[in-house]
């Protein structure tokens, strides 16, 4: 039945040659396991998307309820602890993998001409991942989250000239509170996902266009 449905769609749209061109692209012979880190980062991203959507069904970004809603989700919803911990550990895994990916590209010298643009997009993606980590860390609204965010925003405020303003902008005022939580939540679930999706699209398209760099 599945095959017949596919045939029905194929008869109307004729997508098979396009799909074959995209999916059956030959991989060069010099690929090693070291080349997997980028794909693994993308895989952890997908895990974060799925678990993040489920968390968004239960999470409330207000100081009154943030911690309770996370604790309740983890203790009272079947598989809640698995879903939240996949998101929590997946976040750490993503940072580690994206770093290994960057290290591989650096060691192979794959950032050199003509791939400088893709390196730059990659740096934006790295900043997105770190931004996800920083904003997501506050959301459970416990002591660790609160003080880590204080420290992080104080680091921002040491930036010359505009530092204090930037920190206040992110904080939504002079001290960490309800607006900070809401801002971090909005950045975490709306701003960064859009940004990182656009960046990944560019990143992957450029890899396709330019091919994988030859080893040294």
């Amino acid at each position: 039945m599945f095959a017949r449905s596919l045939e029905w769609i194929e008869e109307r749209l004729g997508l098979r040659p396009t799909a074959a061109r995209i999916l059956d692209k030959p991989v060069p012979t010099h690929i090693t396991w070291m080349h997997c880190f980028g794909g693994l980062t993308f895989f952890t991203f997908l895990v974060q998307v799925v678990t993040g959507i489920i968390l968004a069904f239960y999470y409330v970004p207000t100081p009154d309820h943030a911690h309770d809603s996370v604790a309740w989700f983890q203790s009272s919803i079947p598989f809640g602890a698995i879903v939240r911990n996949l998101h929590r550990w997946g976040a750490s895994a993503m940072v580690v993998l994206v770093f290994l990916h960057m290290l591989r590209v650096f060691v192979h010298g794959a950032y050199r001409k003509p791939r400088e643009l893709n390196w730059m997009v990659g740096v934006v993606l790295l900043l997105c991942v770190i931004g996800f980590g920083f904003t997501g860390y506050l959301l459970p609204w416990d002591q660790k989250a609160y003080w880590a965010t204080n420290v992080g925003l104080n680091i921002v405020s040491t930036f010359p000239v505009v530092g204090r303003f930037l920190a206040n902008l992110l904080r939504g005022g002079p001290s960490v509170g309800a607006l900070t939580l809401l801002r971090f939540y909005a950045i975490h679930v709306f701003v960064l996902p859009l940004l990182i999706s656009a960046g990944m699209l560019l990143h992957f398209a450029m890899v396709r266009k330019q091919g994988i760099a030859r080893p040294l």
Partner: protein, 229 residues
């Protein structure tokens, strides 16, 4: 030097097969050199393979099949917990405790006397509602109570069975009217007019030590027989 190493090891071509004699040993090759696929030209037939069961599986077929199964396993490992966590609240059970409505003959302040016979009385009971992560809070549930005078009671849910608007009892015409879409019910809760699909829902009741309690909410059919637990 690196380039020479790469050319020597990574791009080593497979050596042509040599004729062998029993006991003769060929010089060792790295594993990947031996397993590398032979180049093929269009129209070239694959070499005959060892036949085990059924059609021989091509390497490409085996790998894409294995990839599909691994992908399915990962999708299940991620998808099942996610879906279960999202669906779980839909499967929660209904309230199961008994909640006191009042003492017939001894009404509390502002409450109707449930000893009055044959007349629907609008009152309410309190129940603890646990709303997700919020603190459990008492909530007033409005009900119509009828004391039939022979020791039997009826406890109707006030919500119209059409779309949930609260019905009200009209003493003059002796009917329940819904304010929204013209639903009308008689004193037994049966539908007299309008769109409601079934009689008024009702609560289990019991009289214990002079106190009337409300239990689980259930539905009835046109003959007022219970159809849900």
């Amino acid at each position: 030097m690196v380039r020479r190493f790469v050319e020597k090891v990574v791009f080593r071509r497979r050596k042509p097969a040599q004729p062998t004699l029993p006991g003769m040993r060929l010089p060792r090759e790295p594993l990947w050199a031996r397993t590398r696929r032979q180049p093929s030209l269009p129209g070239m037939r694959p070499p005959p393979r060892l036949r085990l069961v059924g059609e021989p599986v091509s390497r490409r077929g085996f790998l894409s099949g294995a990839l599909a199964w691994v992908t399915a396993a990962i999708a299940a490992a991620l998808g099942i917990p996610a879906a279960a966590a999202a669906v779980a609240p839909a499967l929660r059970k209904k309230r199961e405790e008994w909640s006191p409505i009042g003492r017939p003959g001894h009404p509390g302040p502002g409450e109707p006397d449930l000893a009055i016979v044959g007349k629907p009385l609008l009152t309410s009971f309190r129940t603890l509602v646990q709303d997700a992560y919020l603190k459990a809070e008492p909530q007033n549930v409005p009900v119509y109570v009828i004391n039939w005078g022979d020791g039997r009671f009826s406890v109707y849910d006030v919500r119209c069975t059409h779309l949930g608007c609260p019905v009200s009892w009209d003493e003059k015409t002796q009917k329940f009217y819904s304010p929204c879409h013209g639903g009308v019910f008689d004193i037994q809760g049966r539908v007299l007019a309008g769109p409601p699909p079934r009689p008024l829902d009702r609560y289990e009741w019991k009289l214990e030590n002079g106190v009337l309690y409300a239990g689980k909410l259930y539905r009835v059919n046109e003959k007022l027989q219970r159809v849900t637990d």
